[in-house]
Structures are given as structure tokens and as C-alpha cells.
Symmetry: C2
Subunit: 303 residues, 2 copies
């Protein structure tokens, strides 16, 4: 069912290419235009074919579009919003897919002209791969997309929600500050910690690189997958969600020191109680359908 | 090809049950006996059928065994070694599957009678599930098993190596202290950190439990899987590999503080460089065949 006559995707990485594939698969858009800053990315996107038309400029891509999706790194949102502002069609909706919401609103909001509706968004989906060749139509299936209700018109909000639901996502609406805190807990801080652990492993001189790699299935492997995500995107996330991440990191250090102290003082009861409590959370996630109880798809996670 | 006439499995959890299935699948053992302390576990093991005979006592299970596998939590190794010592057959080999090696050697070594060979071992394989119903024959396929060369006879070592290779594992031999350091890096510290992060999430009052669970696919989910492992096993690991874990934790805190400072001072270059370096390690792991480049099996890891 067609929801928007014309959709413009700006930035043609994993999320935009998956949106292109998903919209085409479900017939949600009449025409999909696309633009990326790099000629190489535009060429790759042309080859893959998830847009009907790849444009040389962002201005050209948004001309006549009913929906404009900003899918560039968070740090580049302000610049692209300024570039397209004079070319937006009256009545159009602008949305984004950035991992941080308050900073995007600050950067993009002032450029949105009267008569255009800005609804910030964030699909909680992705893989450790990036670029126009990494997208696939089912990326958003059964994943959550969070939309920010910044006094958006009801009709515009309902239409954008229908698009995401058409691509298989579940939609929740919340305010920007809460979004940034929740993401700091479930995503940003875990990523920083994974990056840190991988960096530590690289520096322990008494353990050879080949040992780290050979024996990585023992738990470390999942950290390396998380830590393989796009460096530019993650730099921008930490710089723009600084307060919430520093808040959660502070709590993390406190908890870690308490466990470290339990190890040093050999307080086995403290450790056992802690590990028992965390197990319960896992069960809830499986029950909520956000993972399967199949043992890591047989990849094997050793101790 | 039969390698041992009779194998005794002591402790009937994930590793022992997988060994039972794997030995039966490849015909590596003439008879497999088994014992677990809890009657419930023994009954479940009988139902599943990965042993030929389940015994009421450990002494009975090891009677006449050519290979005895200690597959109990690290903290229980000394006690079971003392219990079976008088019943071991001359010429038998005793091995274990504990995640820590120096502490196991200290606990088990003194009980091993003359004429019996003790070769500590550690298969780097597992899942987040535990118990006699969680095992499967292919758990060790393409995984590493580390054996400790503590002046073992060459013939006994070659035979044990053949058993592990027969179950699909690759075998490496190293000394116990090095094993414990390597595992602190690739497994023990990552697990402690995952436990910590899951604990933090549970405590952030402004984020509801249901939000943590719904949005867990954003990176946090992998931490919860790691943090769902058996609490008793992990308590024992941290208590018995204390020095190496505290060493690596100290380095981890140093690195984390450096990244935290880069966020606070908005040093984007430091962050970008760090995240670029860690990406390279991931590539090596995929090349080494310890994971696949398939995007998280399509489960989707969002940012």
C-alpha cells in the first residue's frame, strides 16, 4: 500500500538502503530518490538499485518529496538540513534515523521551514556492516522504531508510523531526553565498553594477537562484533549524547568496582547473588521475542 | 575409532553431556559411565541417554575407567578428586574441563595417586545454557581445547588429544599460568563486564524494565546472553582466577577512563582512531573462522 508518493533518502548507508529495499518490497512509496555525498557510494547505490533515481545533489533529491529521510551520521545532520531547507515541498515531512535525538533536534530543527513537519526518528535495527551494499528488506522486522513527538501534526505522525509499520517495525513514541537516556543504557554505553575491552585485549603484550583471535569464541567474540561498527557514526553518538553516556558510565564504574572488590575480598556470595539476578533479565528478553533461546545459533560461547 | 575402553564423566552438565553425545556419535569410547551429585540431574541424564550407565557414587563411576573427566564447577574439583582417588585404575588418565587451570592443579594434583596421569584441560566451547539436557554432539566442532602439559606422559597426552580431535576440536598445549591469563582476557573479564552492564541497566530507575527488554536488540542483548551463564560456575572462576582477572580489570578501567575523558573533552579524533583500530581485530576473527561475517545471523544489532 503506497503511503508516500515520493520519498528522498539522504545518506545511502545500511539504514537507508534497508529502507529502500523494504519500501520497494511492500510498495510503500511511489518513487524513491537518493543522494550520498561520495560519488563512490552513489555509484554503488545505483548498482544495487534500492532507489529509483540517484541524484547528484541533496537539493535535487528532495525536490517534490513528500518524505525526506536524513540518514547521515549525527554530526552531519545540521549541514544537510541547511542545504535542503530551501528546496523542501510545503506539506512535506522530514524525519531522521540518528541514534541520538536531542542533538539532532538542536541541529536540524532551526532549518525546518514553516509548513514542513519534522518528526525525529530512530529505528533500533542494524548490523555491524555499513554502506549501500549492506542493506536488506527485513532489517526492521519485529524491531522497534522510536519516534519523537515534538508537537508533530497528528496526520503526519500517523503517516510516518504507517510507513515504519509497513516495513515490519513496531513503533513507540517518546520524548527526546528519555530516548537519549534509554539508548545510553541499552546501546551507547554497552558499545563503549565493548570497544574498551577489545582495545585492552590488543594491548596485553603477554597474550599474542593470534591467541586472542583463536580463542575469541570464549565471550570476547561478541564484543569484537559490537566493536566493529562504523567509527564515524559512533564518534558522533558519544559526542552528541555525552551527558547521558557519562551518567551511565559513572554508574557502571561504581558497580564494576563493587564486583572487583568482591573478587579481591573473595566474597563469593556477593558474586553469586549478582550473577543470579542478571540471569532473570535474559529470560525476560527471550519471552519478549527480542532474541531466541537457541544457544547462540550453535556458534558456541565458551567460558 | 575407539580411543578409550571406558570413560567416566563426573558432573553431568553442558560440557559432560556434549562430550557424551560427541563420543557416542564418533564411537570414541567403549562404555561411558556418569555421576552427578544431584539425584534430579542423574535422572535427567538417564532420560537423555548420553551415558551407558549412571552411577549413584563417583567412586562407582570411575571403577575401571581409562579416562576420568572432572566436569564439576572449579570450586568442587578438590573434593571430588579426593573422593575418587582410592578407586582410580592404575594407568588411568584424569582430566578436567574447568575454566581456570592453576587453581584446579592445586586442588586436584595432590590427590592423584602414583601411576595415574593428570592432564588438565579446557574446551573453549559452551552456550549460555546449562545442565544435562543442554548438551549436543557438535558443541566442540572447530572450537579449541587447551591441554596443560604438566609433565604428562607423551602417550597419555597423545591419546587425550586424539579424543578431543575425534570430538571435532582443535587442540593446543600451553602452561597453566599462561592459560589463566589468556582466558582472563578473552573470557573472564568480558563476562564480568557484561554482568556489570546488565546490573547497571536494572538499576537505572528512570528507564523502565520493559524498555530495557523491548529495546535490548541495540547491543545490550549480547551482554544479557553472556550474563545469563551459570552463576556458580562464574563465581568459582572469579574466585580462582583472581590475580589475572584483577590485572586485566585494572587495565580495562584505565582504558575506559581515557575514553570517558575523550568524551568529556569532546576529543573526537581520539574516539575515531580507537574505534578504527578495534574494527581490524574483528576482521581477523572472521578470517580465522571463529565467527562468520553474516550480520549477526540477521538478528539485527542496532545502534
Amino acid at each position: 500500500m503506497m503511503i508516500y508518493e515520493r520519498v528522498a533518502l539522504l545518506g545511502l548507508g545500511l539504514i537507508a538502503s534497508s529502507m529502500g529495499h523494504a519500501m520497494k518490497a511492500a510498495g510503500l512509496a511511489g518513487e524513491i530518490t537518493g543522494h550520498a555525498r561520495s560519488a563512490e557510494t552513489r555509484e554503488a547505490a545505483r548498482e544495487v538499485g534500492f532507489c529509483d533515481r540517484i541524484c547528484e545533489t541533496a537539493a535535487e533529491a528532495v525536490e517534490g518529496a513528500d518524505l525526506v529521510v536524513l540518514a547521515v551520521p549525527v554530526g552531519a545532520m545540521g549541514e544537510i538540513a541547511a542545504a535542503i531547507a530551501p528546496h523542501l515541498k510545503p506539506g512535506a515531512t522530514v524525519t531522521d534515523v540518528g541514534s541520538v535525538k536531542q542533538a539532532v533536534i538542536t541541529a536540524v530543527g532551526p532549518h525546518i521551514p514553516p509548513g514542513v513537519c519534522f518528526i525525529p526518528g530512530h529505528p533500533l535495527a542494524g548490523t555491524e556492516h555499513s554502506g549501500p551494499r549492506s542493506g536488506f528488506a527485513t532489517l526492521f522486522h519485529n524491531r522497534w522504531c522510536l519516534l519523537i513527538d515534538d508537537h508533530a501534526e497528528d496526520a503526519a505522525m500517523a503517516r510516518l508510523r504507517a510507513l515504519w509499520e509497513g516495513m515490519g517495525a513496531n513503533v513507540d513514541v517518546m520524548d527526546a531526553a528519555h530516548h537519549d537516556l534509554v539508548l545510553a543504557v541499552v546501546s551507547h554505553t554497552p558499545h563503549l565498553i565493548a570497544y574498551t575491552m577489545v582495545g585492552v585485549a590488543e594491548h596485553v603484550r603477554r597474550v599474542s594477537d593470534s591467541e586472542i583471535i583463536k580463542y575469541s569464541a570464549s565471550g570476547f567474540r561478541d564484543f569484537t562484533r559490537i566493536a566493529a561498527s562504523d567509527p564515524t557514526m559512533w564518534r558522533d553518538i558519544f559526542l552528541t549524547n555525552k551527558e547521558a553516556v557519562l551518567d551511565i558510565l559513572g554508574r557502571f564504574s561504581e558497580e564494576l568496582f563493587a564486583l572487583q572488590r568482591a573478587i579481591r575480598t573473595e566474597d563469593g556470595e556477593h558474586l553469586h547473588d549478582y550473577f543470579t539476578r542478571t540471569r532473570a533479565i535474559r529470560r525476560s528478553i527471550i519471552e519478549a521475542g527480542q532474541d531466541t533461546s537457541a544457544a547462540d545459533f550453535g556458534r558456541g560461547v565458551a567460558r
